[in-house]
Symmetry: C2
Subunit: 413 residues, 2 copies
């Protein structure tokens, strides 16, 4: 790397591994569900590390943690960077943790080099990005950005009936600061890609230009249970045959949109699910994603009627419920340009990429100019205990984060 | 009905309802699982009824019950009739019970009319037709006919680990007689159709000419779990998209064979079954049935390769296990003719029909000339608490059984 201000790759990796010890699973993954005792331990370690650097910590009402390194001009709005420390139930070591620990390494490097930035810099750990426990992903950043209200978030309950507010209180994670946008200069988030594109193309850095538009559905197809041996073709209303047509259509609609298309039936349940009974009911999820709002709007317009026609041709009927539609979220061109320049300056193989997954940056971007940096993960695997990255990939991502944040914090106003 | 030897329709219905009280469910169905305390109560009531008629009861080692009415010539092999008293977990009042209770009504009518038949007549209650508890349908008739060995049947266990032999002993259902074929003249079984054909065509009697050939499979399609948002079409190996193609193909193969074709995927499981994960594995059942052995042999020849090609075109792979193949079982032409003549004599609307379901008669027919009589059931519904028939349909079926059994028992040798 062609820079004389270099992060400490070994220290970064050591801290990643130290965080991964908290909630480590036998299969090499991490189970650090939000607002549990394990999360409490992760938060505590993070807070200790921040304190050791002389950062001042603020915690807001939804548990978001902001560790501030003062700038030469404390009145300037801070440059934010970060991600999340919570994990999936059978998650990996790097999803979320990479962005937080890399931000910590940026702070450590700034300290080591005695760099005083113009603007303050704040490192953020957002609460409950995963949504695994309370069923609502991007909760901390969503409340902060005003996408959800605090009372609504507080009232969410896990499968054991524990509310978010009770869980916050039980581990002392609720802070005195309001969970709402404050003036900030920008937000940068480093994250593993969670997909195969960078690895497949041999790129080290993904310059994330925005996040996809999405539309999600619940579908219920109703036919008629019938004896598989006695019911002739003309008397069948087979809900699974109908669902198969919809699944094939979702796949075709995705492929018709080329490599940027996404269309998935991930969850499906057959009733009564007995070998010798023609299925009377099938319940399943459908989702489409695309970088262009117009594509998702078009699908939301045409898909329900097309799917219904396919289903009704089999004698079944379908209820299709649109769960939500999220517009595409382009990231801030200036922030994206800083990421692009950093990768170029460092000579790192890079490509522009659209985020297929949701990230805290997507909600933060509604309030603050934002950008993201992706690094590859092995076989594109994530939300999986086998999630794996190389130390040099983590270091490269961290160095790009350092460059972008430093440039932004020192930019002339 | 044009006969002066008429069964007592009201008494038949009363006994059907009396048997349905044993294991009655709140939704109007029956739960009389084989070899449970409830089954014991059903067997006891059956035995009392038989004793009241002066029938002599034999029980064999697998719990099959044979209630004998002596003939003028005790040396003649008996005419058998019957069905089963066990039910599905959420079964109906008539599946099985109709054939047994109608046989009882035949015995009562013979007694009332003081008829002495040439050959003896035996009424049979076969053990565990349903297979719901120990996972092996047609167990009692299968052991009797030598399709399975007694030790194999004894060793089967329910989900709580209780073996068939332990269950037999626990309710005192194991008898001293060998479970093996004895010389018998014939076997007649009255059963509800469990399908929609008779009702749709306004027929009261189904003259069952045989049972379908069948081939059953277990399929496992393996693709690759992947993030639904980040994984582009070219990188997907979606096991559910692959399964959808196989489901559509099974349906097409069925329809290509017209109204006699049967092809069903009844059971299907998606892994990991998460909304935003491209499915990495799908497990499902496939079965085909057809009256003609050649059609099933042809399907067993061609289907695996065709399905595999469809799956491999999606980048997934498939393991397909053939669980079993049962040849078509034609019933005995002379016995079938007696059913046909009885329906004609009584002026009952009738049609020939192939049994789509498995029945005790299918295994018994391997050892003894056999035939079946079907009567309609509402909406073709069976294996369901809502299973429903009309008293006059039960009576018509019982009268046909009476005519056929009487004719056979009195036939000149």
């Amino acid at each position: 790397m062609q820079t004389n201000q270099t992060i400490n790759a070994a220290r970064l990796w050591d801290s990643l591994m130290a965080m991964a010890e908290i909630g480590a699973t036998p299969k090499g993954g991490v189970k650090r569900l939000t607002l549990t005792e394990v999360d409490k331990a992760g938060r505590a370690r993070f807070a200790e590390w921040c304190a050791a650097l002389g950062l001042s910590l603020r915690v807001d009402a939804i548990g978001n943690m902001f560790a501030r390194r003062e700038g030469r001009d404390p009145a300037r709005p801070p440059v934010l960077m970060g991600s999340h420390l919570d994990s999936q139930p059978t998650g990996g070591k790097f999803d979320g943790a990479l962005g937080v620990i890399a931000g910590l390494e940026v702070m450590r490097t700034l300290n080591d080099l005695g760099i005083e930035t113009e603007a303050p810099i704040e490192l953020v750990n957002w609460t409950d990005e995963e949504g695994s426990r309370f069923g609502h992903s991007l909760m901390g950043s969503g409340v902060w950005a005003g996408v959800y209200t605090l009372p609504k978030a507080y009232a969410l309950r896990d499968v054991e009936g524990v509310s978010v507010e009770e869980a916050l209180d039980s581990i002392g994670a609720k802070g005195p600061h309001k969970a709402e946008p404050f003036p900030a200069d920008s937000y940068f988030e480093l994250h593993i890609e969670q997909g195969p594109i960078l690895e497949r193309e041999g790129k080290t850095i993904g310059i994330v230009t925005g996040a996809q538009a999405q539309v999600w559905y619940d579908a219920v197809i109703t036919g008629q249970d019938a004896h598989a041996g006695t019911t002739p073709p003309s008397a069948r209303r087979d809900a699974l045959v109908a669902a198969a047509r919809v699944i094939a259509h979702v796949d075709a609609l995705m492929r018709a949109r080329g490599e940027e298309g996404r269309g998935t039936v991930g969850q499906l349940q057959v009733l009564p699910n007995s070998r010798n009974v023609v299925p009377g009911e099938v319940r399943f999820s459908v989702e489409f994603r695309h970088p262009a709002d117009a594509e998702i709007a078009g699908l939301a317009e045409s898909f329900p009627a097309e799917a219904r026609a396919l289903v009704e041709a089999t004698g079944c009927r379908m209820e299709l419920t649109e769960l939500f539609r999220i517009p595409a979220q382009p990231f801030d061109p200036d922030c994206v340009e800083l990421v692009r320049r950093a990768a170029a300056k460092l000579g790192l193989p890079a490509r522009e990429i659209i985020s297929g997954a949701g990230h805290d940056a997507v909600y933060v971007a509604r309030r603050v100019p934002a950008a993201m940096i992706f690094t590859p993960c092995k076989d594109g695997l994530s939300h999986n205990e086998a999630e794996s990255i190389l130390p040099e990939e983590a270091a490269a991502g961290c160095q790009v984060l350092f460059e972008a944040v430093l440039a932004r914090a020192n930019r002339p106003l």
